[in-house]
């Protein structure tokens, strides 16, 4: 046990002090912060107002429109400027200033034509902030022409507010809450992925380094193979936790900025989901790292490492490639089936649990399947590791792996 502790400690301390580890952690923090804070960063904090030059050739709409827009508090401020002149000049100006242009002409209110021109896609998308009130004004005016008092006309046209709610077992989430939850889910699966896949690669590299430098024989003369393997996995796992906490700080910061900028409430995690995340991290990491440790032990030359590890890594990354369909239908058949396949379980089941209702029995079954698979693979990996540790010069084939498994 003492040697297990010494190995764990060495793995942890030598890595955490290395420049490569510090650089990669900082890079991950920056990346995750950037990814979660993109919506906020793009708007530069508070969104810039939509600037519209209104050319009112009817001479009757500018002021009422200004008032109506001001009264209509939207998600983005609107600044209305009066403009006049011929179209070409106005368009050239709007291009130069990157502002939007609203040209209203024709007979008011019966036969009116309006054009909204903008160079930015974002401004085009927000055109409703100005054209909505304009439509209301014009409709009200048309109704008034036909004898309906303006106040009545306004009442008639009061828009209907439809509240959209997601039904879950114990609450109804508004669509805004759902959006906030998505950010949380992204954070959860990215953290599970980072630790289970990225950190297991450290284990692979560590085992390979010991083989290539031949220090493995000195170690094998002092420490049992099981202690060597477990110490490495534990030490680098602890390192993963440290890295995870650092990355989470960046993620929480980015998430908080974005949800506040978008005006959606940030989601929250129940203790059950938090426990599930931890469970998936531990099991997923144990599974991946022991498989990679065994593979590392079968290689003795750096140049063989890529050919051996790439297919396995691809397999481990596979769950990330299928995220989109799972996200779009977390209760659908694809998501349900995938959540029971051990390599997909951590990520798929997390998405399902956080975005939809999953029966408890399904969650428990998936965890048990994952735990059983992890136990079997860790056992087999231990045998392969022990048998392969002191072999040099051969590149592992499946047949060879089978022989190691029998010999260990």
């Amino acid at each position: 046990m003492r040697n297990l502790w010494l190995v764990t400690r060495r793995e942890f301390l030598t890595r955490i002090r290395s420049g490569a580890f510090i650089t990669s952690t900082v890079l991950m923090m920056v990346t995750l912060f950037a990814v979660t804070a993109i919506p906020y960063l793009m708007e530069g904090g508070t969104p810039k107002p939509l600037v519209v030059t209104v050319v009112d050739r009817t001479g009757r709409l500018l002021e009422p429109l200004r008032e109506a827009v001001a009264a209509n508090q939207g998600s983005r401020g609107v600044e209305i400027r009066a403009g006049e002149g011929d179209d070409e000049e106005l368009i050239a100006e709007a291009r130069a200033d990157e502002t939007a242009l609203l040209i209203i002409e024709g007979n008011y209110p019966g036969d009116l034509r309006a054009r909204f021109l903008a160079s930015s896609v974002r401004d085009l998308g927000d055109s409703g902030l100005v054209t909505g009130p304009l439509e209301e004004l014009v409709r009200a005016a048309r109704l008034a022409e036909r004898g309906l008092p303006v106040e009545v006309a306004r009442e008639v046209m009061e828009p209907l507010t439809v509240e959209e709610l997601q039904l879950t077992a114990d609450e109804e989430r508004t669509s805004d809450q759902f959006a906030g939850m998505i950010f949380l889910v992204m954070g959860a699966i990215v953290s599970v992925y980072l630790i289970t896949v990225m950190n297991s690669q450290f284990v692979f590299q560590g085992v390979l380094e010991e083989k290539v430098s031949r220090v493995v024989e000195v170690m094998a003369a002092a420490v049992r193979p099981a202690e060597m393997m477990a110490g490495k996995i534990l030490g680098l796992g602890l390192l993963g936790v440290v890295q995870y906490l650092a990355v989470m700080v960046a993620w929480v910061a980015g998430n908080a900025l974005t949800t506040s900028a978008l005006g959606v409430p940030s989601g929250s995690i129940t203790p059950g989901v938090a426990l599930l995340i931890m469970l998936f991290i531990v099991l997923g990491y144990a599974l991946n790292s022991s498989v990679l440790a065994a593979l590392g032990a079968t290689i003795s030359r750096m140049e063989d490492s890529q050919t051996v590890v790439t297919p396995v890594l691809l397999l481990m990354m596979l769950p990330m490639f299928l995220i989109a369909p799972v996200f779009s239908d977390p209760s659908g058949p694809l998501a349900t089936v995938l959540s029971f396949v051990p390599i997909w379980t951590p990520i798929t089941m997390l998405i399902r649990v956080m975005l939809s209702d999953v029966p408890m029995a399904q969650v428990v079954t998936s965890v048990v399947l994952l735990a059983a698979t992890t136990a079997i693979l860790a056992w087999a990996s231990g045998r392969i590791y022990r048998a392969a540790l002191l072999t040099f010069g051969t590149r592992p084939s499946l047949k060879q792996l089978w022989q190691y498994l029998k010999a260990g």
Binding site: N3, S213, V216, V218
Partner: protein, 300 residues
């Protein structure tokens, strides 16, 4: 208080690496494990270190089977040298020594002592990869010696060292032996083995062909070497002795390999009858000669 290797067998697939190997190394002695490449030396050493387990047979230390706990008292320098390339020399030596059961403070003291003995002071804070091969080998020796092992297994500790470093290493080797550590080491340098060993074990084609104290081994060779010079230079009288081999030596002398059953004194008497003897000396065969005789010149 002995290392006992008893009827040990080890095969890798169809290759029989070690067959029925038995020998003992009494405590506090230095034993040379000799043999050509592929004779089974490294496999035997790895089995003593429990890196490999024998297919059959038993290895005991002080009467007990070697377990992980017993092994913690052994030091090991493998044939394939290996250090953590990015780790500081002193730091990794302390780590290896701690793995053998010493406290950190104890390990640090031992490591510092050995670093001084092997004149590595200026490299102690460097990363292992920044050291020359010779210095890395000295570091590797410290990794084997610093835990105050009861038994030290050294697989070709002197290979690849320059003459100056060989001297430093031999000195460290003698210090280790003088501190009471039992040593089993392999080498291809027979003169060195003769100078450093009390006992020898010779492996050939995975079997023991010779084992015992250096003195017994030489005696058991049952032949002696006579160096003889007579004034006339006419050695034809030697034909009277059946089975002897001669070869010209420097200064007009000849070297005679005297087989078992022939008394060297009779050769001297006969030479005195024949002529004036100007030189006569009687010697035991060198380890190198015994080795070549047992293993065959090609493999030496």
């Amino acid at each position: 208080m002995t290392l006992e290797v008893r009827n040990v067998y080890k095969s890798f697939g169809s290759v029989r690496a070690v067959q029925d190997v038995s020998f003992t190394v009494p405590a506090g002695r230095v034993c040379g494990l000799l043999g050509s490449n592929g004779a089974g030396k490294t496999t035997t050493m790895r089995m003593i270190m429990r890196i490999l387990l024998p297919d059959q047979g038993e290895i005991r230390w002080q009467g007990q089977p070697v377990t992980d706990a017993v092994r913690a008292g052994f030091g090991y320098l493998p044939e394939e040298r290996g250090l953590y390339p990015k780790m500081q020399v002193r730091e990794q030596l302390i780590y290896f020594t701690q793995l053998k059961g010493l406290s950190r403070g104890d390990a640090a003291r031992q490591v510092d002592t050995w670093i001084q003995r092997l004149q590595l002071g200026e490299y102690a804070q460097r990363r292992a990869e920044q050291l020359s091969k010779g210095n890395q080998q000295k570091v590797q020796f410290i990794a084997a010696a610093a835990s105050r092992p009861a038994l030290c297994i050294l697989d070709e500790p002197f290979t690849g060292l320059d003459p100056v470093n060989t001297l430093v290493m031999e000195e460290a080797f003698r210090t280790l032996a003088a501190e009471g550590t039992t040593i089993l080491f392999s080498s291809h340098n027979m003169d060195q083995v003769e100078a450093l060993c009390d006992d020898v074990v010779l492996l050939h084609r995975s079997k023991v062909v010779l084992a015992g104290t250096l003195r017994d081994v030489k005696r058991a060779a049952r032949r002696q070497t006579v160096r003889l010079r007579i004034e006339s230079g006419d050695y034809s009288f030697l034909r009277e002795f059946p089975g002897i081999r001669t070869r010209a030596a420097s200064g007009g002398a000849i070297e005679i390999t005297v087989p078992e059953g022939v008394d060297p004194n009779r050769i001297l008497q006969r030479a005195l009858q024949a002529d004036t003897v100007t030189e006569y000396s009687l010697g035991e065969p060198s380890l190198r000669e015994i080795y070549i005789e047992k293993v065959g010149g090609a493999d030496a």
